[in-house]
Subunit: 334 residues, 6 copies
Amino acid sequence: MTRPITLFTGQWADLPFEEVCELASGWGYDGLEIACWGDHLDVALGATDADYIAGRRQILDKYGLKVFAISNHLTGQAVCDDPIDQRHQGILSPAVWGDGDPEGVRRRAAAALMDTARTAANLGVDTVVGFTGSSIWKYVAMFPPVSQEAVDAGYQDFADRWNPILDVFDEVGVRFAHEVHPSEIAYDYWTTRRALDAIGHRPAFGLNWDPSHFIWQDLDPADFILEFADRIYHVDCKDVKLAVGNGRNGRLGSHLAWADLRRGWDFVSTGHGDVPWERCFRALNTIGYTGPISVEWEDAGMDRLVGAPSALEFVRKNLFDAPTAAFDAAFTSH
Amino acid sequence: MTRPITLFTGQWADLPFEEVCELASGWGYDGLEIACWGDHLDVALGATDADYIAGRRQILDKYGLKVFAISNHLTGQAVCDDPIDQRHQGILSPAVWGDGDPEGVRRRAAAALMDTARTAANLGVDTVVGFTGSSIWKYVAMFPPVSQEAVDAGYQDFADRWNPILDVFDEVGVRFAHEVHPSEIAYDYWTTRRALDAIGHRPAFGLNWDPSHFIWQDLDPADFILEFADRIYHVDCKDVKLAVGNGRNGRLGSHLAWADLRRGWDFVSTGHGDVPWERCFRALNTIGYTGPISVEWEDAGMDRLVGAPSALEFVRKNLFDAPTAAFDAAFTSH
Amino acid sequence: MTRPITLFTGQWADLPFEEVCELASGWGYDGLEIACWGDHLDVALGATDADYIAGRRQILDKYGLKVFAISNHLTGQAVCDDPIDQRHQGILSPAVWGDGDPEGVRRRAAAALMDTARTAANLGVDTVVGFTGSSIWKYVAMFPPVSQEAVDAGYQDFADRWNPILDVFDEVGVRFAHEVHPSEIAYDYWTTRRALDAIGHRPAFGLNWDPSHFIWQDLDPADFILEFADRIYHVDCKDVKLAVGNGRNGRLGSHLAWADLRRGWDFVSTGHGDVPWERCFRALNTIGYTGPISVEWEDAGMDRLVGAPSALEFVRKNLFDAPTAAFDAAFTSH
Amino acid sequence: MTRPITLFTGQWADLPFEEVCELASGWGYDGLEIACWGDHLDVALGATDADYIAGRRQILDKYGLKVFAISNHLTGQAVCDDPIDQRHQGILSPAVWGDGDPEGVRRRAAAALMDTARTAANLGVDTVVGFTGSSIWKYVAMFPPVSQEAVDAGYQDFADRWNPILDVFDEVGVRFAHEVHPSEIAYDYWTTRRALDAIGHRPAFGLNWDPSHFIWQDLDPADFILEFADRIYHVDCKDVKLAVGNGRNGRLGSHLAWADLRRGWDFVSTGHGDVPWERCFRALNTIGYTGPISVEWEDAGMDRLVGAPSALEFVRKNLFDAPTAAFDAAFTSH
Amino acid sequence: MTRPITLFTGQWADLPFEEVCELASGWGYDGLEIACWGDHLDVALGATDADYIAGRRQILDKYGLKVFAISNHLTGQAVCDDPIDQRHQGILSPAVWGDGDPEGVRRRAAAALMDTARTAANLGVDTVVGFTGSSIWKYVAMFPPVSQEAVDAGYQDFADRWNPILDVFDEVGVRFAHEVHPSEIAYDYWTTRRALDAIGHRPAFGLNWDPSHFIWQDLDPADFILEFADRIYHVDCKDVKLAVGNGRNGRLGSHLAWADLRRGWDFVSTGHGDVPWERCFRALNTIGYTGPISVEWEDAGMDRLVGAPSALEFVRKNLFDAPTAAFDAAFTSH
Amino acid sequence: MTRPITLFTGQWADLPFEEVCELASGWGYDGLEIACWGDHLDVALGATDADYIAGRRQILDKYGLKVFAISNHLTGQAVCDDPIDQRHQGILSPAVWGDGDPEGVRRRAAAALMDTARTAANLGVDTVVGFTGSSIWKYVAMFPPVSQEAVDAGYQDFADRWNPILDVFDEVGVRFAHEVHPSEIAYDYWTTRRALDAIGHRPAFGLNWDPSHFIWQDLDPADFILEFADRIYHVDCKDVKLAVGNGRNGRLGSHLAWADLRRGWDFVSTGHGDVPWERCFRALNTIGYTGPISVEWEDAGMDRLVGAPSALEFVRKNLFDAPTAAFDAAFTSH
């Protein structure tokens, strides 16, 4: 097995980076997908300060951890979003939030994404995982009526704001892996097709395959891998459990908090949900994906100190290699 | 059969009111659920001008049509919505839109809803059907993270804005029937529970049962009737067809237009979709609902001049009365 | 189409026989499956009094109705039942109930079944439809624990009580068609196998195929026809609708009355439920069944005066004959 | 993990109590749910004899086992049952059975239940698990027709017989946890609602949650926990596997013995069936249940010496605690 | 509604052509899809004899019938098939069968297909419907093991044999519409992709959409229309009913005859099966298909004289046009 | 646990026999089901040469392996097949293939099967596992139309060719266990019934139960065991995973290679697919099967050196014995 298994540090950013390294290393993870928040990775420093980068590397080396991708979902979210409100203030650094003027926030977020590409390059990493935000997600219910023009404008806005960012990615030789997700410009199969069209299918823009929002939308996560084979730049393992069927729990979550069992679905530790992991891992074999398999651990009903090592165990057990010869070759060996 | 079958005029507001009356009467509808837009019903006039009301009545009488409810979804939408944007401008009267300043729009919409209650009373109708809007619908994806406080504030905002409106409803003896629907404060089972709690379960606020958004959210429309038996103030028949299952069509619609077959669901003419109408009509019998059954016709793949009469035929055929004696009574009649 | 469609009069026994004849004839039924209760058919008279029989025939002839089977479910129920209680008193004639001593009731019920065979013969009818009762139905939950001996004894009791009755059936050339049904010795597939074994597969004992209790038990009514092809002596059409799935409505009915929507299933007018009628009618074609198709109308949510004619219409439309030549015969006709 | 895992001794009562203690202790169980039959626990002694209680305690202590609940299903069954027959004789102590006169049996059973409460109190245990019996279970098929009055009388009989027993429970500070189960007054969701109504929702009467009869009735065992949150007094883990679907195996079991694969469902070792254990354990977390999780082992196709330790292993692995902080808290920790 | 509904005459070729015309016209069909067997259409004559063509036209005109496509499934089958055996002798004209030498049969069949194109052109028809045959269908079970080379060779054989035929089609301005079907080079979604690749996607080769073999293979017939939008050259309506699920009836038909209810699926009259016709017709609207909708009637359990008119009625009722304006356009018409 | 777990060597025949013995022994297998190809077992020698047999035994003994059955699928395939082509050449020994003349191949294959019986007897083994081939498998699509006579002739051909072989089996006291499989005379439930009829149900001909082709045909593998209880002579464990449902992947495999995720189903390592193993093993207990459980390992997406030991672990864990006493026996032990 050559594919490394990493831990995404985003849900651990309340802990100091080194503590997370120690935990992940102790559980046997091969590396980290480092989040660009908390004290884990500062992209302003990372883009410009070689000592800072060296310091991060030193900690990773101390714990025998590799890094194949860094992630900046939170800042990416603000690049296209509309409205920009207190939710964004909650997740953005003070520098990006600034005075909170929406257009200013968006511009500073875009600049920070460029820095994220530079940080990745400096760190020797070729992939940045993240979100794009979307100016038209708010139209999802299609009421009040939304014109085709309004939808088209949303994809154009995405292209206009991300193309300059992707130019920097190209400059420094790094790829952006967008996580298909509600709230984003691409949140399902057809919007992913549309978003790739909008950006002219430029190679700098690919996908972070995370199936956790596919299942409850009735999307097939393994088919998704086969269909977007050349754009699967990174893999995040997060699981989800459907709980509809009693006629009262709905697909839209009812404004209820995570772990509330009246929700129609919820995130659960990898292997505890409805994602067909084995078929998905076989699909990754089929397309020749050799990058990291990263555990993004979210389960509001399980302690993370229990969940993170058990997710690692689950992934290791199900991530087997394809053979080199067909089984029926033996029938003809007379 | 004593329950009247009416046609909701909202999707016909591009036609003059009298033309719609002529059509509906010709098809055999018993009456109309009159939309407060187009030239169908002007609530500013209706609230104050007895002659205007008399004129509307005259047209209805000419075509032998009754009216049991009037509807003001479009203006109601603006009472709580945030953001207020060009979508609202598209559906609001110039008077309510005014300069488009969001808070002003919301206040004028609230005032128009009060006028809608007065118009209903003047017209001799005890029910206004409509939408509430919602300041927290935009949080539906729960990302960026939404605090419990933000959700609570949304329901409080709803209560704060609608209680004064409902005071006018109480004054004039009219009830508001909210249509449970995405984009609204109550869009599924649990949000309906929460919205009723927020408003203190005051009798002025009930529900317009329309199952078309229940099916794709996996809600049981018949159970909904039984659970909210004392709040079913009006019934709208709109059907919906699921088209998920191929792994690519999603529950959220992919920003695709109506009738695009890549959508995971779409509205269809009543009787052509997945709503279990017969069980729902039996549930209405069970709770003793005797009000109108209104056809809200929406099917982007069928001509409405074909669809409206066939929907009427479907409803008439499936809307049978309950018997007065049990079938096994005959076993003991020796 | 040569198979006649009849109406079972059991659920109409509160009306005088002639009134039911008039109704059935008016709706277009070909004949009746006459219930042996109410004033419809008195088996004590029928067994012995030729004038009585002639009188019944006269009424039938007056309305152009034929009769292919008579039914005595209610009395048959008492032949094996244990306990015998006030439920039986409610459905038995005073003569059979007598002093209500259980064993006496059972013996008088058995004698009445013999008279039912004689009545059928006198009426020129070769089939009696009915129930057997069961001394072990009460063990259905298997708690308190039930020994294999206790179950075996129940089937033996059935054989012991019914063999003498069936001897009379053989004498007069009439067959008994047991309706597979909860409360009876045979209520599903395997108990039907066991009951036929118990009775030595004697030809006097066959089955009335009524699928209404098959669906909610997850039995396949069409396969049942194919499996018991040589024992399908009569066909009753009663439909049933499942309403489980919300996690609260149960398969066992919750001691709730018919038409209560909290029941996990309920009887509905033929064609309104989950019975795959077309496949069942094709199965009847396959086994060469040419007897009557009888509508046993039960729907606690629909008026019977609406339901009976619409059930007839449904059956007529779906009861088509098989062709005489294969469709691909035409491919070779050069 | 603070919730203890216990073994219900009912299916081991053919073995001496101490032998069961030794086995359970050896497998790693935290304690026992002691059955009041075999030689495990004598409630006549337990209610009155402090030495007897001390002796039981001594054995438990010797094997390091705790006890949180005792169970008297077998005697409880006789309190309301009708008919009382040889099945009851098989499971009752000679003292309770006496001369077998039904009403006498019921009265002695009721008295024994009062003693069971006293025994529990003497043992320092606050919960008695058991069955209620039912005078109307035999009406489950609803044929011969059952009047509403007859059903009502059944619930009244339950209340009349159990209220005096529950008075003793209140006196000694012990609760009764009824196991929802066919043959009992409450066997599904709606009958549980009705039974609680009948008893005035008095706190002395709660529920033993055992999902094994829920699945085949199509009830949702996790929703049941949420709906009856304040009445979940005890938890029994027994699993069940559905085997319907071939059109021949029925929901009612066909009078077939356990392990006969023609049954439509059968009990299986916990974790081998269709119960969604993880969601159920999460539901128990949600309602704050901190009592014992008791393994009631029944699997007629597996040796119990294999099954009991493997069920313990399964439960331990799936019974995880909820975390104290939300996973997305880390997103805002800048 | 401008799309004509035609009757495919293949299953009626045992009747004289004029008799079929009379029947179809009497039932109200708009035209015919004429089979090139029986006496319906002789392609040797049709390709060369103007009088013959005029004669056919005369009969059609006499009965007011149009023709939009002709069909030559039976001869097309022999173009690629291997083995060629008595089954082919049964369906081929003596002239094509000749001495039955396989390669000779294939060559004569190819020549007859060229004549079919010429006949179509002479008849003023732009579409020939039919089968291709396949030299690799016999490998469907993949045992004995089949090499990739063997599969590739089959597609090459198809291209080699059909390209010269299609050259003639191009010459005379007619298209071939292959019916995706077991036994053919393209029998499902992926083999259709592969066959189109093999033939270089030349426009002369398109598809006859017939969903009857899609359902039992678990293919989505509506998605198929959307995916192969530019190749849907003709539409045949044949329905199919699945009958698997009892664990004994299999997907492969068990060598059982049509109408045998032990088959896992069977053809049924259009509207009596599992094809989602309405969604399919909407898909045809979406891709702008304006050609004929042809009823290919096959139901071994229904008389064709009953089935053909009822299929026409079903199709007419479900084949509605799309509207020209969106339903929510009316919301903005203030 | 007394049932031995063996490894079928067919998929390992590219390795020398002794190497396979060493591997299987090292993983903990109890024995082998030896394939009669590669160098594993030569039936020409085995039938006649005692030293050869002794040599094989010696190797088995060296590794502590037992043998309960030998397998000759590849040669058996040629006994009835038509056509005989290069696929057969690929899997047959040169001696059986000879000049490739089909009838000669069939005759030599039949003779080799007789030798296989003799080899089994010499080896002290009472079961030969294998395939029959079929002259009518090629008719599976039923187009071109297949007459009943042609189907009947296929079963007759099977009987004619296999009865003489089975005579030899009877002579030497060995049974043939046919593996129900596409390409064979019996490939599903009804064809198995038909094949057993054709052969007069002679005891020499039984079945090798291998569920891997049952699942995708929608057959119930556990019911199959119960229905053919007296013919289950051997058990092979091969698993299969369905991948239909996206509307594009079909049941027939699309001529795609193993491990291609566009196939509608594929073989997977035992325990990774859709076979309900536990219920099947319980069914084997029910019929009293005490023979070997043989792992036939095929998974084109997993390395066999990983798969073979993990399949053994899976089978060992799920293959538990039935108990000797019922669990509710303990309820009556007072």
